[in-house]
């Protein structure tokens, strides 16, 4: 067999036929191996990082990134306000405890706020009313509710039923229901929040209402601001029966 052998630089023998190679060749081989190993290492690290769940920001366009920045900025402003509110609450509780006072007022206020936010108690406020006429599927209504939440709706009702975690408007067009309550072909969706932001988000060009009107031709969706409206509490028990608090 006429095979050319390239042995290691230190002249180890391969089957007794290896030859000693010149020092310059050996150095060149070592440098090549080092370079290949280095490149291999960089690529391996890159691959591992890419697979470690890092956000796929590389796949976003400049427009998407700008939209993402706007969303993150708004979200962070809300979180900052929440932190400030909780820090104030903590300070108040600490001072009350140091003075030996009870914290009934603070507990009651916190309870009322959480119950209202979760839908466990009635709420009142300004917002919008959307009158829906015609046949539309549950998927379409859920898309509308998702957009309302995205626009900052703090409470929502569909045909008078409070929408809370786990409540779904389901059914085909003409057979909608929510919480075992049948919905007719004409009903109202109401939301509490900024009337301007809610209306603007829903009715913008190419927005959810435009999409729904294209998907469900013949349906009418009319949005109007409401100065004051009151929503009932949910009838649903939201305390988990299968899940337990994690200590």
């Amino acid at each position: 067999m006429n095979t050319r052998h390239v042995g290691p630089a230190h002249g180890a023998h391969e089957g007794g036929h290896a030859r000693r190679i010149p020092r310059a060749d050996a150095l060149s081989s070592r440098l090549t191996v080092t370079a290949v190993a280095g490149l291999l290492g960089i690529l391996a690290i890159g691959q591992l990082r890419a697979q470690s769940g890092a956000p796929a920001l590389a796949g976003l366009s400049a427009t998407d990134l700008t939209q993402l920045i706007a969303n993150l900025t708004t979200g962070n402003d809300e979180l900052r306000a929440e932190v400030a509110d909780l820090e104030g609450q903590q300070t108040h509780l600490t001072e009350a405890r140091d003075r030996g006072e009870t914290t009934v007022d603070s507990l009651s206020s916190d309870l009322a706020r959480i119950r209202a936010w979760a839908g466990l108690s009635p709420v009142t406020g300004q917002g919008i009313a959307i009158v829906v006429r015609g046949q539309i599927g549950g998927d379409g209504i859920e898309d509308l509710l998702n957009e309302l939440r995205n626009a900052g709706a703090e409470a929502i009702t569909v045909d008078g039923v409070r929408i809370v975690t786990g409540v779904v408007v389901a059914g085909a067009a003409g057979a909608l229901s929510v919480e075992n309550h049948a919905i007719g072909d004409a009903f109202e969706i109401r939301a509490i929040g900024s009337p301007q932001i809610l209306t603007g988000t829903l009715t913008r060009t190419g927005g959810v209402i435009a999409q729904l009107l294209a998907t469900y031709p013949g349906t009418q969706l009319t949005v109007a601001p409401v100065e004051q409206q009151t929503f009932p509490a949910t009838d649903r028990s939201l305390v988990p029966s299968h899940g337990q608090p994690r200590l």
Binding site: V6, G7, A44, I69, L86, T103, G243
Partner: protein, 246 residues
């Protein structure tokens, strides 16, 4: 065969090392290139500072959320240590704990399942990418099947949570989530059986997932751990009302 073995043995070690290294190199380059598809790559110069801004905002968001969870825990501890400890106060505290549990402000564990929703194979086009609508359908089906609590890639779904598209990925609670999406739910032990008996769920799997080469895997679990919702519960426009509408 013997000739091949002899030939391989006769090869110098350095050549074998090179061959293996180049093979791995080729594999890694292929994996790197295919891993970036089908979500498009953009190379305009203005993107670098935008990406850095997003990363900074995400870091800030994580810090805020961690701080919120820590403050809520500390406030809960302070409320529990109230010096009065009268029956009325104990009842108030118990009501508060129930409300927090109902609102998703407390981490919980329980039986349930975990879904993993992934994009289709490379080259299948935009229809093979998981969209916010796909995630919302899955959430809806889980709620209808009796799920009590759900999270998406660790983001707890609350009454105000929206799931929206952003450039082929999604935003949940203003958090940017990239695929694959892991959707975990706590519910009755037969949650998956209930889900499978839903016509809408079967249509979703057959008509959307399978048709477009996407992947949806499920694992029923004896115990699922869900973190608490770490977003805001402040109300700006709504306020508690004395009673509901007449």
């Amino acid at each position: 065969m013997t000739a091949i073995v002899v030939w391989l043995r006769a090869l110098p070690k350095i050549q074998v090392t090179f061959a293996v290294a180049l093979l791995v190199l080729g594999f890694l380059i292929t994996a790197q290139v295919t891993g970036e598809k089908p979500r498009a790559q953009y190379s305009t110069q203005e993107r670098a500072p935008l990406i850095q801004t997003v990363l900074d905002l995400q870091t800030q968001q994580e810090a805020f959320k961690a701080r919120i969870l820590e403050l809520r825990r500390q406030i809960g501890d302070l409320e529990a240590q109230d010096p009065g400890a009268a029956e009325s106060l104990r009842q108030l505290y118990a009501d508060l704990e129930d409300a927090r549990l109902a609102a998703g402000l407390i981490a919980i564990s329980g039986p349930g399942l975990a879904f993993r929703l992934e994009d289709g194979t490379t080259g299948a086009g935009v229809d093979a990418l998981v969209s916010a609508q796909d995630v919302r359908i899955l959430l809806r089906e889980l709620w209808l099947a009796g799920a009590e609590a759900i999270d998406i890639n660790g983001e707890r779904v609350a009454s105000t949570s929206a799931v929206i598209d952003i450039g082929g990925s999604i935003l949940v609670n203003s958090a940017y989530l990239a695929p694959p999406y892991e959707i975990r739910a706590i519910g009755p032990p037969d949650l998956y059986d209930r889900l499978r008996s839903s016509v809408a769920f079967v249509d979703f799997v057959q008509g959307r997932i399978e048709r477009n080469g996407m992947s949806l895997s499920v694992a029923p679990l004896a115990s699922v751990d869900l973190d608490a919702y770490a977003g805001t519960v402040n109300l700006r426009y709504a306020s508690p009302a004395a009673s509901g509408p007449p």
